[in-house]
């Protein structure tokens, strides 16, 4: 399928989903759906580095929170424009602020991408495992910074009050849902484009044998940095609307470990080799968790995710997509 056709298909599916929800559902469906869509973006973003290059990022929660807190920061600046900018600056500042959410998403992506670039540059030159460890610690440090930064609310958290309704969309949550739907389309298209380009083949050589790739002239560091920046930026973009979704952010909710766990578990369970895997994993696990949170408990559903992750990496290393491929291959052979 050519890329423009693929994008058209995605838009059609997305629009159908939105109209279906709007026609049959209530606001709760949009709230739950938003979370699942957010997980599709996070899982796809993780997979660009983890699945294609073979580099594990444990800091998804950190990148997500960078997006969330860049929104909080810009929102707070917008609220206090008169105190911050005086004189000739006041005019332009009033034009810029308050920023609409799509602009905040772009900023979230830029900030998270820059942090990814910095961390990657320092650690990706060494053995892959150092990068994994650094991302693990990165989330802790970013949380420390935010807790100590009173401008964005510190440990008390910050309120970001969204308007109740938006023109055209109606309830605000529907507006956020559509924005997240667009992000899903962007991330799936990016992942699919990478898979079919020189970039994707370069990533695959790194995953399969980095030393051999380096020896045959693949610029491995550059490719790894590209993957880190893309992946981090998408995670930051997924996090940027988060304050508007909840209306209130505090460090422990923005840096919640469940983001890190889910964004690893979903691609691993779905399958890491193509863009389909993370999407399947995110839809399955995301929906399952939405149901389990209502019926069992929020702690119980985290246990399910953890056990599924362990079970799948041991028993089905290539995830659901791998199981499916094995099954069809067996059937085609008499």
């Amino acid at each position: 399928m050519r890329t423009p056709v693929f994008i058209l298909c995605e838009v059609a599916v997305g629009a159908a989903l939105y109209l279906l929800f709007r026609h049959y559902g209530n606001d709760y469906v949009f709230f739950a759906g938003y979370t699942v869509l957010q997980y599709i973006v996070l899982a796809t973003a993780w997979n660009i580095l983890g699945g294609y290059c073979g580099y594990v990022n444990f800091g998804s929660a950190g990148f997500f929170a960078i997006g969330a807190y860049s929104s909080v920061f810009l929102h707070t600046v917008g609220q206090n424009v008169d105190d911050i900018a005086t004189g000739f600056l006041a005019g332009p500042m009033h034009v810029i602020f308050p920023m609409p959410v799509p602009v905040l998403i772009v900023f979230g992506g830029v900030f998270a991408g820059l942090v990814g670039l910095g961390t990657g540059y320092l650690t990706l030159r060494l053995r892959g495992v150092f990068f994994a460890i650094a991302t693990l610690a990165l989330a802790v440090v970013l949380q420390t910074l935010v807790v100590n930064w009173s401008f964005v609310g510190g440990s008390r958290g910050a309120y970001v009050i969204p308007p109740n309704t938006v023109p055209v969309f109606g309830p605000y949550i529907q507006y956020l849902f559509v924005l997240m739907l667009i992000l899903v389309i962007v991330s799936l298209t990016t992942a699919r484009l990478i898979e079919r380009s020189r970039l994707g083949y370069g990533f695959a050589t790194i995953r399969d044998d980095e030393l051999a790739a380096e020896a045959s002239g693949v610029p491995t560091l550059k490719l790894k940095l590209i993957a880190t920046v893309l992946s981090g930026a998408l995670m930051g973009m997924a996090g940027a609307p988060f304050p508007y979704y909840l209306g209130y952010v505090e460090p422990s909710s923005a840096f919640d470990l469940s983001y890190a766990v889910n964004s690893i578990a979903m691609p691993m369970i779905g399958g890491t080799t193509s863009w389909v895997g993370p999407m399947i994993g995110a839809i399955l696990l995301g929906t399952l968790q939405q149901l389990a949170t209502v019926t069992i408990s929020s702690v119980g559903n985290l246990l399910i995710v953890g056990l599924l992750l362990i079970g799948f990496v041991i028993v089905a290393p290539n995830g659901i997509v791998g199981l499916w491929q094995n099954w069809t291959r067996k059937r085609s052979k008499p």
Partner: protein
């Protein structure tokens, strides 16, 4: 905060005592990550399990937490041997340790934390012992026994480990296994068996480190996460797999953290280990005493 000499010396002493404890926490990682090349990021979870076992026995029977942890050593060793066997069969043998093995340990870390959360809730738990509370005084310098006792016990454990690794045949085989498994085979030693023993030992240290932890501070299930950055920073700074290096790095980190929390406030302390980790990786990836 006002600067004074007494404050400075007290902070350094507290940091050194804390550093001794950090050495015990990192010893297991120095073996599994440094010597065996197994990136066991679930190590802090085993430490927290050790804390909770010490807590239960201490509260129910009034037994000293360190004694409990010594009695539990064989059980933790067996647990480690089982985990290694699963890891070996599922990942190492298939050559998938880099991506799926890491995800496996991450899942283990997460599941353990959630199980403890379900069993014990989010209340801070602490133990009772005679040495929690009083302090020794030497002039203006204070030695809280709560820090001093775990530190001395940790150093004793550390010395025993170092003796075992450098003097016994199995210990030397452990040091050799990541460097040259083939040479081990030629000497009629099974590398997998040696790795299983070594991993068992590394998890066994978590039993004692857990008891030290709950003596030093009250414990909740999520506290293990704070130690991930710390132990890997110490392990990398020490030069992977060098126990003397680990000790020096642990003392260094303890002092820097203690100074940071004394002069800038305790909420900044978690950032220190990450700063050290990044600095080490950028400037000298082989660590202080790395080969």
């Amino acid at each position: 905060m006002e600067f004074s000499f007494a404050l400075l010396t007290n902070a350094i002493v507290a940091g050194l005592l804390l550093g001794g404890f950090y050495a015990a926490v990192t010893a297991g990682i120095s073996i599994s990550f440094g010597m065996l090349d197994i990136v066991n990021i679930a190590h802090p979870a085993f430490i927290i399990v050790g804390s909770y076992i010490a807590y239960i026995v201490n509260i129910e029977l009034g037994v000293d937490p360190i004694l409990v942890s010594v009695v539990m050593l064989p059980a933790f060793y067996a647990l480690g041997a089982i985990v290694y066997q699963v890891y070996y069969l599922s990942f190492e043998k298939r050559g998938q340790e880099s991506l799926r093995g890491l995800a496996f340990f991450f899942g283990l870390l997460f599941v353990t934390e959630v199980l403890l959360l379900i069993a014990f809730g989010v209340d801070y738990r602490s133990v009772n012992a005679v040495y929690i509370g009083p302090s020794l005084r030497l002039g203006s310098i204070e030695f809280p026994l709560r820090l001093l006792v775990p530190c001395l016990a940790a150093l004793a454990m550390f010395a025993a480990l170092q003796l075992f690794l450098s003097r016994s045949f199995i210990g030397r085989a452990v040091m050799a296994v990541s460097q040259d498994p083939l040479a081990l085979r030629l000497m009629a030693v099974d590398p997998t068996r040696i790795k299983r023993i070594a991993f068992g030992i590394s998890i066994a240290t978590a039993s004692m480190a857990g008891a030290f932890l709950i003596i030093i501070q009250p414990v909740i299930p999520s506290v293990g996460r704070d130690y991930i950055g710390r132990i890997f920073a110490i392990c990398v700074l020490g030069g992977l797999g060098s126990l003397p290096g680990t000790l020096i790095a642990a003392l260094l980190l303890g002092v820097i953290e203690s100074l940071t929390s004394t002069f800038y406030g305790p909420s900044w302390a978690p950032a220190v280990s990450f700063g050290i980790l990044l600095l080490t990786l950028a400037v000298r990836p082989s660590g202080l005493l790395g080969r």
